[in-house]
Amino acid sequence: MLTAAQCGLVACPACGTITRLSIERLDAPPKCQLCFARLHSRKPMSIQRSWAWLTAGILAYLPANIFPIMVTTVFGDSEPNTIIGGFFVLWEMESYLIAIVVFLASVVVPVLKFLAVSYLLISIQRRFQHSKYDRTRLFRMTEFIGRWSMIDVFVVAILAALVQIGSVAQIDPGIGATAFGATVIFTMLSALALDPRLLWDDKPAEGNRIDHRQSVNPNRDAQPTELVATGQRYE
């Protein structure tokens, strides 16, 4: 099994084209020759950036739960709604399906995402060797599902735009919505910063410079690769 990094190659993150890294370009960040995207064997500072965004996300999650995400005014009576409160209201209205969707999007998904990304980051830093496959799947799930939490913000925005009926009823967005939106965006950025290829690396390979040097002296003792053998050529 050989990775591109072990062969001194790097795949373009945008178009997938494989390029050979060279020492002459050690100082300038290499670019894909076809689509000009920046090439990194591993995302630079992946762990640090991912931790930073994750911390920001967790910090923003506290005000998101404390402050109201919207304020409902019915016939002059104002009532602030928090995230959890919105779930209970829906539950009492007996729209269980929607209540569960809201609960998943606003509580379960963000919290699970905090836990999952933390676990992945710790597993990379501690160089866990087990269950790499399962951890990759966990990463894929986190990446896919995280953005759906944004649904809460959109619900608030739509309600606030729609329910502006003079003296009868009015819904205004609250500062909690900003905090919650920040949580979602920060955790998305955290997952984007996390490079899943680090899960599979035996040695920590971070940043461009180290990879360049590796590319000059590719690891000759690496296990022979197990490529899909076909003999067919790409023309």
């Binding site: 829906l90 790499k132 990759t136 490529l227 067919q232």
Partner: protein, 275 residues
Amino acid sequence: MERNSSKRDSSGNNEETSLDCDRRQHIRDRSIGTHSRTIVESPLESLVACHECDLLHEKIEIEVGSVARCVRCDATLYVNKKNSIDRALAVGVAALIMFVIANCFPFLKISVSGNSQSMSIVSAVFALSGEGLWMLALVSFGFILLFPLIRMAGLLYILLPLRFNRRLPRVEFVFRSIVYLSPWSMTEIYFFGAIVALVKLASMANIELGYSFWAFALLNILTAASLQMIDNHSLWEYISEAKRRSLENEAGEDDDTSGNEGYGKEEGRDFGVTV
């Protein structure tokens, strides 16, 4: 599993350390598999690295509609989508039209005891523009309107000239924008948000769905279809295929009169993606 050691090895070594960035350099001296100990001598174009675990694979021809997956982590490496560029373009244009319609008509209309109020898709953005919320309004504008629009327009910018055998400048930049913006385009999430809002209000008020609502629903279906037809990789295949052909044409025209003939032949060709 045994490495081939011979002169070839040392020459390969030299080549790898010779430091030029020639894309046509070969990876030598890697025995492949446990059974077949043939030497991999594949040009870089025939290799693909898994974007999730970095494992190198040799590209193989796969059937139309099938998916090549990483042997180690199961990630999708590439898909063979043999769609004609015309179909992709049709879906793209339809999606853009739906986008315009969805933004020209009211989205939802509420009426409670004689009073009524309607909203359009953009109203949700404006509703967030209060104190301490303008930043959220700004990013929501990007997620709901700007980024999806960039994706649709960018797709047409790339595909339309390809259809007519032309090339516009900065196609690569447009392609990269599409790739990097794709996780931030959230029309489908907004749509489900609207459904949640509907359910919340359904018991208290009378709600009508506007034209925009249906156009927006269609837009999401078309976007999904378009993503199904051309993912980022196959989009790049279109572009590079066109590049290759234009290079061939130039070479052909330089060569002889046969250039014209070749050009005519190319025109009738389908833009099938064969990876």
